[in-house]
């Protein structure tokens, strides 16, 4: 066993990550998965001489241990995906970014439709300077009598981001759904290389705009670890308050949207307003409803005084009372429950195999939550119970959100009642050279993973971002198997995944 074990947010010299033969790499990764690890990140790292090194980061949730191993595969290697489905998306990404072929990959298509980052090394042998057109490729097809295909997107009917969905149907029944994204690809991950520079924090805050606090926090923690910066306790508490407010706003909005998708308008319109009330609480802290400008390396950019805290607590109680009233109508309305229950079920085995994260995983009975398993900041001292339920259907994904709303409110009450004194920001120096850190955060959609690696100059040589949506989109595709196509909007909303977070 050559794998390196380390702790969350531990600054490790990059050369300590063992580079082994590709056979040993496969053995180590698959062995760790068999032990119950999850693949947190799997990416290509450019080396001298235009070579690419593969790095896998794994998490063992029960012990709170992280592991990493690397290999230099040359131009191709035997794919992990056939033995480890959660590697499938990562391997498509590696092939697209670096032109390294995973041999035997069951469905090797581009993810984001951009040119290879290594000129003349294209996994699909595409030549020419132009960008490959999105989704212009063969889709998985079901054939036979009465089979038809439905294509939706990239432009959808609502005010939402673009993506393409291709359904293989028999009558109303969906036999297979393939999701083709990449329309939102704006080159963020590549632009992070060479940072931190003045734009870096803004790139991070817009990785997924509805998860500004989550991503900014993952980034800030990574930089603080690399720089050896200690964040004041007051800042840690305020960061967690902002992260839970982000969760409250989005969970409330999702429950309202789920109600809207089954035509239950009272909860839909109440929650539309209440979601905004939570966003306005974040604006109370920093002026921005999405938390722009709040989290900065070293702490937070805004302090609170007693009057602001009292205002925040008053609003929290009033809004929570109304959320309870709005949401509990759902569980008491048979026409809502008839649509929620047994729709779009994902089994615990599928959730584990795909490496689902966040409420989508917890709704399939997976008891994982970064706030408990890999706590950082104030979460090391103030624990939240993990909200997991069985069932895996739309109801379970809705109910997990309601449980989490209650626990987040309880958490904010506790934090604001005993906010530590002192400063809210400490000076944060430059990152250490030739070091790597893994930073995790439980965003409202699930685990956000950032892996930062610095070069000899202390600048980012690679900055890998894994948004929870990247992990969970395949879950939505499988949830649709054998469902009615008219339940797609409902299933989609029960995951509510980010397109830009996936496309980066």
């Amino acid at each position: 066993m050559s794998i390196l074990a380390f702790r969350h947010l531990e600054k490790i010299p990059s050369d300590q990550i063992p580079a082994v033969s590709i056979d040993a790499f496969r053995r180590d990764v698959l062995g760790a998965i068999a032990e119950g690890c999850r693949l947190v990140a799997f990416y290509g790292m450019p080396r001298a001489n235009a070579a690419v090194r593969l790095v896998a980061v794994l998490a063992h949730d029960r012990s709170g241990e992280l592991r990493a191993v690397a290999a230099d595969p040359g131009e191709s290697y035997p794919a992990l995906a056939p033995d480890c489905p959660q590697a499938a998306g990562f391997e498509r990404e590696i092939a697209e970014q670096w032109g390294v072929q995973p041999r035997g990959h069951p469905w090797l298509k581009p993810l984001r439709f951009h040119r290879s980052y290594r000129p003349s090394r294209d996994a699909w042998g595409r030549t020419g300077p132009e960008s490959p057109p999105p989704s212009v490729l063969d889709f998985f097809r079901v054939e036979g009598e009465g089979i038809h295909e439905v294509a939706v997107g990239p432009v959808h009917a609502g005010i939402i981001e673009p993506g393409h969905f291709r359904f293989q149907c028999h009558g109303e029944q969906v036999l297979h759904l393939e999701i083709s994204l990449g329309y939102q690809h704006r080159g963020v991950e590549r632009a992070l290389v060479g940072g931190p520079h003045p734009r870096t924090i803004h790139h991070v805050e817009t990785l997924a705009g509805d998860t500004t606090i989550g991503h900014a926090l993952a980034y800030a923690q990574a930089v603080e670890s690399l720089a050896g910066c200690r964040v004041p306790a007051r800042a840690q508490a305020l960061r967690a308050v902002a992260l839970e407010l982000e969760r409250l706003a989005n969970h409330t909005g999702d429950l309202g949207a789920l109600a809207g998708d089954v035509g239950y308008l009272p909860t839909s319109s109440f929650c539309g307003r209440l979601r905004g009330d939570f966003l306005n609480m974040t604006a109370l802290l920093c002026g921005s409803r999405f938390g722009r400008g709040f989290v900065r390396p070293g702490g937070v950019a805004f302090d609170v005084d007693a009057a602001l805290l009292a205002d925040l607590r008053g609003r929290l109680e009033a809004t929570f009372r109304d959320v309870g009233g709005a949401v509990n109508l759902l569980w008491d309305t048979p026409s809502v429950m008839a649509r929620f229950e047994n729709t779009g079920a994902v089994s615990p085995e599928t959730a584990a195999a795909l490496g689902l994260v966040g409420p989508a995983a917890r709704a399939s009975g997976r008891e994982i939550d970064v706030r408990r398993d890999f706590p950082s900041g104030i979460y090391r001292f103030a624990q939240l119970p993990v909200s997991a339920v069985a069932g895996g259907d739309v109801f379970a994904r809705a109910y997990v959100r309601w449980l989490e709303i209650q626990r987040s409110v309880e958490f904010i009450r506790g934090q604001t009642a005993s906010l530590p004194g002192g400063a809210v920001r400490a000076p944060c120096g430059p990152p250490a050279p030739d070091a790597t850190v893994v930073s995790l955060q439980e965003g409202w959609r699930g685990e956000i993973a950032h892996v930062a690696t610095t070069g000899a100059d202390g600048r980012f040589a690679r900055y890998k971002v894994v948004d929870p949506s990247f992990r969970n989109w395949p879950g939505l595709a499988l949830a649709l198997r054998n469902q009615e196509i008219s339940d797609f909007p409902l299933c989609n909303k029960s995951f509510n995944l980010s397109y830009c977070g996936h496309d980066l």
């Binding site: 329309y183 003045p198 319109s269 539309g272 002026g287 009233g325 830009c500």
Partner: protein, 255 residues
């Protein structure tokens, strides 16, 4: 059923009084910047150096901020040794022309209403098709919020529709990625004429934080002509509503 009715009564009427009354804006909100006419310290370019998106230019000792690029992060105001730049809580930032987004000392030209013919067509009923072209979902979310009971966009005759064929105009968010440029153009072409285009947020105006990336086209007007710009990252819902109402000539003079 009776519980739903009771809950409806308990949740009360929640539509804001704006535009009849001034909007409620957060205390720490960073809206339109105010630039003091006082001359800068000779040779100082602290604000320009601090800006992450090159929105600031210095000429003849006076500062200009291109609100079309500005992320309203406030880093310039924090860097200025003299306090020349200050972000106010003024939500009114929309403009009809790209050049009108340059903020210097003195008054800015806010968006004027459509001409008489277009106003007759759209003034009391405007159907919009929204396209996100690389947006981070913050602008999209704060456009969406206009549909809630809080802003009740329908009371102004403005509605988001599901098809470009049903729409009078296009509301665009995001920097326009390479991968969305064609879909955006096709959506625009599907709109019946006459049609209008509204660009919401720094990305749709200039590329925002992604300006200069090879993966994007640096804003909507690289692909379609734009009639209204609403800056911000993202703009507050009231800033977007202010822009829409100005365009339709629906605000009382002086507001």
């Amino acid at each position: 059923m009776i519980r739903a009715l009771f809950e409806r009564w308990r949740q009360k009427r929640r539509t804001v009084a704006y535009p009849a009354k001034p909007p409620s804006i957060p205390e720490r909100y960073r809206g339109a910047p105010e630039i003091a006419p006082a001359a800068c310290v000779a040779g100082c370019d602290a604000c320009r150096a601090a800006c992450p998106v090159d929105a600031i230019s210095l000429a003849d000792g006076s500062i200009r901020i291109d609100l079309g690029k500005c992320l309203f992060c406030g880093d310039c105001a924090a860097a200025c040794p003299q306090g020349t730049i200050r972000f106010t809580r003024d939500h009114r930032v929309a403009a009809r022309r790209r050049a009108d987004l340059a903020a210097g000392p003195g008054e800015r030209r806010l968006a004027e209403a459509l001409d008489a013919k277009m106003k007759r067509l759209f003034g009391r009923s405007l159907k919009l098709r929204q396209v996100s072209a690389g947006g981070c979902n913050a602008c999209e979310a704060d456009v969406n919020v206009l549909n809630t009971v809080v802003f009740d966009l329908g009371r102004f005759g403005i509605q988001f529709v599901a098809s470009p064929r049903h729409a009078d105009g296009l509301l665009i968010t995001g920097p326009v990625t390479e991968n969305m440029a064609l879909a955006l153009r096709k959506t625009y072409d599907a709109l019946p004429e006459p049609r209008i285009v509204i660009a919401i947020g720094a990305c749709a105006i200039s590329g925002g934080p992604y300006a200069g990336h090879v993966e994007v086209r640096n804003g909507a007007d690289a692909v379609v002509p734009v009639d209204l710009y609403v800056p911000g990252c993202p703009p507050h819902p009231v800033a977007i509503l202010d822009g829409l109402l100005r365009l339709l000539g629906r605000l009382e003079p002086g507001r």
